[in-house]
């Protein structure tokens, strides 16, 4: 936490965040801040606590200590769906889509309307919904597969679909866990393009291993190691940090 970061209005401020599993501290007194419209990439060796950080922000795991503030709102006490309503969207590491439903239905379910029981019963597939679904489908390269059952998509397409499901929620903070994992080179390129398009008006946190990909998209990079921030800054700065070199190359 640098001096300049104090007192400024951040989209997301994580402070003193700790979570322990039976005494093992997966995340240990972690603090970092994400700016408006910033693309932040979190990297780190396996077991550094990257996914756990995302789990903590979106409410999947409860923090033992510390605070997560999103636009001044404390997230640690909210339930998952309330955090989503506040404007945080999250993509999982393995594509998490509804395999039994069609692409259209996958996107439609993610459309932010009719989110309570009664609303879901009375939900109508009106023009607004259909237009929005088509718009997003176009964006994620799936406009020809709308009626396809999601289980039949390729791995890369599933990743895109999940990104699309987030986009249709129009979150202010988008969190992506390894969005290009398992993709072919061509798909990777398309994904980078897609991310560039969709990150325009929002803040994004990305977890990624692919350094080339990271260099392409990141504004700032945070390196996690053993649940703590090891280094933070631009890609160049981080790459030349001796501590980072030691962690990555030392074993």
């Amino acid at each position: 936490m640098t001096a300049t970061s104090m007192g400024k209005d951040f989209v997301l401020s994580v402070e003193g965040l700790t979570v322990s599993f039976d005494g093992f501290k997966a995340v240990n007194d972690l603090s970092f801040y994400v700016d408006e419209n910033e693309i932040r990439v979190i990297i780190g060796p396996n077991g550094a606590g990257k996914t756990t950080v995302l789990d903590l922000i979106c409410g999947r795991t409860r923090a033992t200590e510390g605070s997560i503030k999103f636009r001044g709102k404390e997230l640690t006490k909210l339930k998952e769906h309330q955090i989503v309503h506040a404007g945080v969207g999250r993509k999982f590491q393995n594509p998490s889509i509804y395999e039994d439903l069609t692409v259209f239905e996958n996107l439609e379910i993610s459309f932010p309307r009719g989110r309570n029981v009664f609303g879901a019963l009375m939900f109508k597939r009106d023009k607004e919904v259909i237009d929005k679904v088509h718009e997003i489908a176009e964006l994620i390269f799936l406009k020809d597969d709308l009626n396809k059952q999601a289980a039949l998509l390729s791995h890369g397409q599933k990743q895109w679909l999940e990104i699309g499901m987030l986009l249709i929620q129009d979150p202010e903070l988008l969190m992506l866990d390894e969005p290009v994992a398992g993709m072919s080179v061509a798909e990777r390129k398309l994904t980078a393009e897609l991310l560039n398009k969709i990150t325009k008006d929002r803040s994004v946190i990305v977890i990624e291993h692919d350094m080339q990909f990271v260099a392409d998209i990141a504004n700032r990079v945070t390196v996690l190691h053993q649940g703590k921030v090891l280094s933070e800054g631009s890609m160049d700065k981080v790459q030349n940090d001796p501590k980072v070199k030691e962690v990555y190359l030392g074993h």
Partner: protein, 379 residues
């Protein structure tokens, strides 16, 4: 895609529901005597439970082994009303306290317990038949689903609840009629429900309510809520992170299933003429799951056919081969689960329907086949 009736009731489904309606409301009454028809009526009252299970188990992934509880609560509410009417002071003049049900008199109760009082009113009873089980289901499901108890745990806890309720009903015989249940029910607002004519009318009421319930279930299934249930069964977390409070949907569908079961219980009481704890416990509850599984856990109509088929087989086989019946039922159950997890409906849609479609196509090569959206691809 136009919305409205078409979307909630596609032509295929409409035809299938109509076929069922014709079968149970025209063909059965014409081809059976009232004795057999009354039996079918009893089976159909179980079909309500199976219908509820399709929604909460097939779609919601919530397996309840305690649906007998709701069936029983609905049935007992109905039975309490009928028993009070049958226990008028004139009918019970020989008792030491006339005007209360006979079993209370034997148990030295000298006044009607407070919770029996409102069941003098038919309108209260009608509300209670649905409200009591639903409130109970609501309490149970809020406690469980808000804490994310699911799957196996839910199944076992509902099973324990069924066991508790049975022990309670049997033990508190002064208030409930004990192990014998509430028997000798005669009239509904002066109308003798034991005559053949009444049995016909009750049968048709039962059919009408069943078709109505199927339509309600169909509406839920085809609404976004139905798709959400499928989504939840697959990736519960994803639904949460799409901004839905998953537990509310589970609570809703569980309560709806309870309401269906209760309706079935009330129709059971009316048609059979009594209610007893042997329809509340673990064994009947699991049998109802069997009906649903055999018919197809993802098919509303399949559940109805499954119920009819299993019960019909039970009646026929247990008469001719009582020894073999349990072997048959057990084998059927294992076979369905292992080989046809989607039951009869699954067999129909994977084998029969394509054949039919091919055949129809060869008749007149037009009209593309309807996409089926209910395929279950879980392996």
């Amino acid at each position: 895609m136009s919305y409205g009736l078409r979307s909630f009731l596609p032509k295929n489904d409409m035809i299938n529901i109509l076929l069922l309606a014709v079968l149970i409301m025209v063909i059965f009454p014409l081809s059976m005597d009232i004795f057999r028809l009354n039996l079918v009526g009893k089976y159909l009252s179980y079909a309500f439970v199976a219908l509820g299970l399709v929604l909460c188990w097939g779609y919601g992934g919530i397996l309840s082994l305690g649906q007998g509880v709701f069936f029983g609560l609905g049935g007992y509410c109905m039975a309490m009303f009928l028993k009070l009417e049958a226990s008028s002071p004139e009918n019970t003049a020989i008792q030491s306290t006339p005007g209360i049900p006979d079993f209370m008199d034997w148990n030295q109760l000298t006044a009607l317990p407070w919770f029996w009082e409102p069941f003098h009113s038919l309108s209260f009873t009608m509300i209670a038949i649905i409200a009591v089980p639903v409130i109970f289901a609501f309490i149970v499901s809020v406690a469980m689903f808000k804490r994310r108890v699911g799957g196996v745990y839910f199944a076992i806890i509902t099973q324990a609840i069924a066991a508790i309720l049975t022990i309670l009903i049997i033990g508190q015989q002064g208030y409930t009629g004990g192990v014998n249940g509430i028997t000798d029910l005669r009239t509904l607002k002066g109308w003798d429900i034991r005559t053949d004519e009444a049995k016909y009318i009750l049968y048709f009421v039962c059919c009408a309510l069943l078709i109505g319930s199927i339509l309600v279930a169909q509406f839920v299934r085809k609404s976004k809520l139905g798709r959400l249930l499928v989504a939840m069964r697959d990736k519960e977390d994803r639904v949460r992170f799409s901004g839905y409070d998953v537990s509310n949907f589970k609570i809703f569908i569980f309560c709806l299933a309870a309401a269906f079961s209760a309706l079935g219980g009330a129709m059971f009481t009316l048609q059979v003429g009594f209610m007893s704890p042997s329809f509340v416990g673990i064994v009947p509850s699991i049998e109802m799951v069997i009906f649903c599984a055999v018919g197809g856990r993802l098919s509303l109509l399949g559940a109805v056919y499954g119920t009819l088929l299993v019960n019909w087989a039970k009646t026929v086989f247990s008469e001719s081969f009582p020894e073999l019946w349990l072997f048959g039922l057990g084998a059927l159950f294992i076979g369905v689960v292992l080989a046809f997890p989607n039951g009869l409906a699954g067999v129909y849609s994977t084998y029969v329907e394509p054949m039919l479609a091919k055949w129809l196509k060869s008749l007149k090569s037009a009209r593309p086949p309807m996409p089926s959206s209910t395929a279950d691809s879980r392996s």
